[in-house]
Assembly symmetry: none
Amino acid sequence: MPWDLKSDRPIYPQLIEQIELMIFSGTYPPGSKLPSVRDMAQDAAVNPNTMQRALARLEEDGLINTHRTSGRSITEDVNMIKNSKSKLVEEQIREFLEKMQKMGFDQNEILMSITSMVEGAKQ
Amino acid sequence: MPWDLKSDRPIYPQLIEQIELMIFSGTYPPGSKLPSVRDMAQDAAVNPNTMQRALARLEEDGLINTHRTSGRSITEDVNMIKNSKSKLVEEQIREFLEKMQKMGFDQNEILMSITSMVEGAKQ
Amino acid sequence: MPWDLKSDRPIYPQLIEQIELMIFSGTYPPGSKLPSVRDMAQDAAVNPNTMQRALARLEEDGLINTHRTSGRSITEDVNMIKNSKSKLVEEQIREFLEKMQKMGFDQNEILMSITSMVEGAKQ
Amino acid sequence: MPWDLKSDRPIYPQLIEQIELMIFSGTYPPGSKLPSVRDMAQDAAVNPNTMQRALARLEEDGLINTHRTSGRSITEDVNMIKNSKSKLVEEQIREFLEKMQKMGFDQNEILMSITSMVEGAKQ
DNA sequence: GTGGTCTAGACCACA
DNA sequence: GTGGTCTAGACCACT
């Protein structure tokens, strides 16, 4: 995983976002065990405290469970994952559309520009 | 103008973005005069210094000119505005696509979900 | 005369400097009559008040005389001009040397780099 | 460090210049850690915000890196420092020559006056 | 303790 | 009245 972290924003929300993406995309499947905090921190070249904080936040949201003895794992509640995922997707789309509309694009123009960029990327 | 400022991010970049949107959408046409810093700050319910910071950045980027004692105006360089606008549009789309792909959507799925949301909004 | 005025600094000191240079270089010889404030302002594309202010300052310094009825003229006191000039020259050189020394150039290096740039310009 | 700040010009560009000089002269070597904003501000007898502004500009220019919570350091990119330095040197010389020429000095005269002042300083 | 942001309020130069 | 700068002081997020 690339772990592209930019320094113009706090690290830990970036970690949260990227771990969420990995859960939603199935890189970390439901029920699977997560690496240790230390390993994940090292992998992301980040202070363990920071990674810890990100994981704690994900646990609050219910995406991750902590087992006293055996580390952390992704929740097995597939519906919860699905819901979180579609909530995020919807929000992404909504924000995107809003910005484009504020710049004066109507719905057809938005669809056309995104289509053309997708086509461009295919080549 | 709504000036919706969220508290999870510094204010001044949000001001920059929203003023850019107003320039790109023609709310502030090329060459038009801007209100005084103090007026804009009051309108956005923000400290004049904060608004000043945003405007200073926009001037560095060339979208705004300041006339020492007679206020600021939008640049008359329509091409510069156009370029900035398409750069922003492209970046928005690119970031959006990237996130969706990281969540496992392929290009058809992306187009379909956005289309369905656009259709939903139409009603 | 080019009248190159930059907008990152107040206009009137720039006017002062440039008029001084024109006096020191003989563009305005000792005793010669100056154009009217309005004409000079128009020539420099500047508000007449601003030009007025610059000229007033030059008069304070003694480089310019105002004759109630017949406009302004350069002082006839050639020594005064010479003194101002050499004071300015010395200051320019002193500031220049100081900066170069702060950057770690010793005197030989300073002479060499300036010589090479002069040689470069000759070609 | 003397931190000589004159009141005829905004403080923060003066801070920028002087810090640049300290970087170029090796007072702050490449990769070295800078004092905290507050310490530097106190040292220069300046408000922390003002110092912050100067440092932020230096970071934009790439001469300084900031590490979110552990202070700032000079870039380790020696070439970038070298380039900035020679750009500054060239600009200094160019501006100096231009002014001297506008006052009617030809190239020999410029070299002679600066040589004599250097010789004078040696004694 | 670090950098970053924001506010409030003041002063200045300019036209 | 305009933009620009500066100060003082506060709060926040992060490690």
